[in-house]
């Protein structure tokens, strides 16, 4: 047997084609499992999540820069006590 004959055998395997219905079935299976849209989430959802994280981070940073009102009240009370004792 020559190389050409062997190639002829291999060509029979290369000629194998799926049916159009097979390809449609594969595509449908992917759509079913992963959704019809190429993107699983719309872009506005990504922006909304990023914005929310920004607001939370900003609020926590801003919150630390100002002492809470309770702390001011405590300082006022301490000052009042010291002034009373001095008097």
């Amino acid at each position: 047997m020559k190389d050409q004959e062997l190639d002829k055998y291999l060509a029979t395997l290369r000629a194998a084609e799926p049916h159009a219905a097979d390809v449609e079935r594969w595509q449908a299976a992917i759509r079913r499992e992963f959704g019809a849209d190429r993107r699983s989430k719309p872009r506005w959802m990504e922006w909304a999540v990023a914005g929310l994280i920004g607001v939370i981070l900003g609020a926590s940073l801003f919150g630390h820069s100002n002492p809470p009102p309770d702390e001011n009240s405590a300082n006022d009370a301490t000052l009042e006590l010291v002034v009373t004792k001095l008097n």
């Binding site: 290369r14 097979d22 390809v23 499992e33």
Partner: protein, 170 residues
Amino acid sequence: MGSRSSRSMDIDWSQTIADLGPRVFRYFRARFSHEEAADLTQETMTRLVRKSRQGVIDPKRGDLAMYAFGIARFVALEAKKTSPLVLAVADQENIMQENVEHQQSLVQLRQALEQLPSDQREIIILMIDQELRLQDIANLLDLPLGTVKSHIFRAKETLRQILVHNQGAK
């Protein structure tokens, strides 16, 4: 992670499946019936999309076909464990319906392929896809290019002997 998965979501999977599916199908068809090959192709494509969505593979950094054939090899291995028969009943029925001579050569070649050592058989089956270069096959199998070439030489010799022997036996 986020950017990797968003890149994978930009792929038109319907078109990718239409292009890549038939190539993967031919890989399976060398050893399985039409129905089995179609099912295994679907399994391969599903795993490909899943891995891409999970960011396990990055289609922008490598040829998607290489990833697909890499997955197909494992899917074929799993399927062979559960379904060792080369020709299913449905395939025998197809032989009756389609071109008899063509199908007979297909059956002979598949029987011969099953008699090859597994490393040689794998290379020959991957060579069915004419878009895969020898270097791609070497990368897929994690073998040096020279080893792949020598496996091809030996596989062709063995195939030739098996086919001549089988023809003589008839």
